[in-house]
């Protein structure tokens, strides 16, 4: 309990935001047009919340490896991330239990900006292979 999930560091560029926009079809201009973003009360172009969510997804799939299964992933976007700034994804184990012979692990997850503020936080539920199955 309290075990740390191996952290994941990201530093999305505006290019990466454009790649994400194209990959998921999110063409909302606050993610690529600075003037537009400012007209909507933002200080500049912001990182897509869902991209931060996908970073947290990668945090978990990297951590559980091929043998693990991601069952649930939730993420609440609390603050803005800006391109060119580091985003550090972290997590820790909050619960372990067995149900129907499956080994479940619950984690809390979050993303930090360079000031150490949590810009997103969430949870994951994963199924890990049992020791018997060769883990």
């Amino acid at each position: 309990m309290g075990n740390e999930v191996t952290p994941l560091s990201k530093e999305p560029t505006t290019k990466q935001l454009v790649m994400w926009a194209g990959a998921v079809g999110d063409y909302i201009p606050i993610h690529y047009d600075k003037d537009f973003a400012q007209s909507r009360g933002l200080s500049g172009v912001i990182v897509h919340g869902q991209l931060v969510g996908a970073f947290l997804g990668q945090l978990v799939t990297d951590w559980i490896g091929e043998g693990g299964t991601l069952r649930k992933l939730s993420c609440s976007y609390k603050g803005m991330n800006y391109p060119g700034e580091a985003i550090t994804c972290k997590g820790k184990v909050t619960k372990k239990y067995v149900e129907d012979g499956r080994h479940y692990v619950e984690c809390s997850l979050w993303a930090e900006n360079p000031k150490g503020e949590k810009t997103a936080s969430g949870t994951a539920v994963v199924i890990l292979p049992t020791r018997d199955s060769g883990d």
Binding site: K10, P12, Q16, M19, W20, G22, A23, V24, G25, D26, Y27, I28, P29, I30, F36, S39, R40, G41, H48, G49, Q50, L51, G53, A54, F55, G57, Q58, T61, D62, E66, T69, L70, R71, K72, L73, S74, C75, S76, Y77
Partner: protein, 141 residues
């Protein structure tokens, strides 16, 4: 439209109503492009496995287009995402997504009226098996 007088009557009419299903074939280049956009170097995503969060790419563009046509939002900000995965999506699957707005809440903010829009999406494969469900919240203003 003046700020603070955002009309969401049309959107309210969609509350609880399932939108027309739309189907999308999952092709390898879409998945590779998604993994590159995340900056996720996991070789599995290059070898035919599909990252769980790939569901975010299915039908989202059409959903946002529809949403923006229902209410005169200047923009939308994503507030949260909850995903449940039931089985992996595979290359070659044809995924049918159905969206539904499940909650609308209005609040006065410094940019005028803000509309907290919660929407669910369900994803089924070509065998009618549910592969994932998603609940997200966007703030329109």
């Amino acid at each position: 439209m003046a700020e603070g007088s955002l009309d969401i009557d049309v959107l309210k009419g969609k509350l609880g109503v399932e939108w027309e299903p739309r189907s999308y074939p999952v092709e390898s280049e879409m998945v590779r492009r998604f993994a590159r956009a995340v900056g996720d170097p996991n070789p599995h995503w290059q070898e035919g496995a599909v990252p769980p969060t790939f569901v975010l790419a299915i039908g989202f563009e059409q959903f946002v287009d529809d949403l923006m046509s229902l209410a005169a939002f200047g923009t939308v900000l994503m507030g949260g995402t909850e995903l449940e995965f039931y089985q992996p999506i595979k290359l070659g699957d044809v995924i049918t997504v159905v969206f539904k707005i499940t909650n609308l809440r209005e609040r006065q903010g410094k940019m005028g009226n803000m509309v907290f829009t919660t929407f669910d999406s369900s994803y089924k494969n070509q065998k009618q098996e549910t592969v994932a469900n998603c609940r997200q919240m966007v703030i329109g203003y």
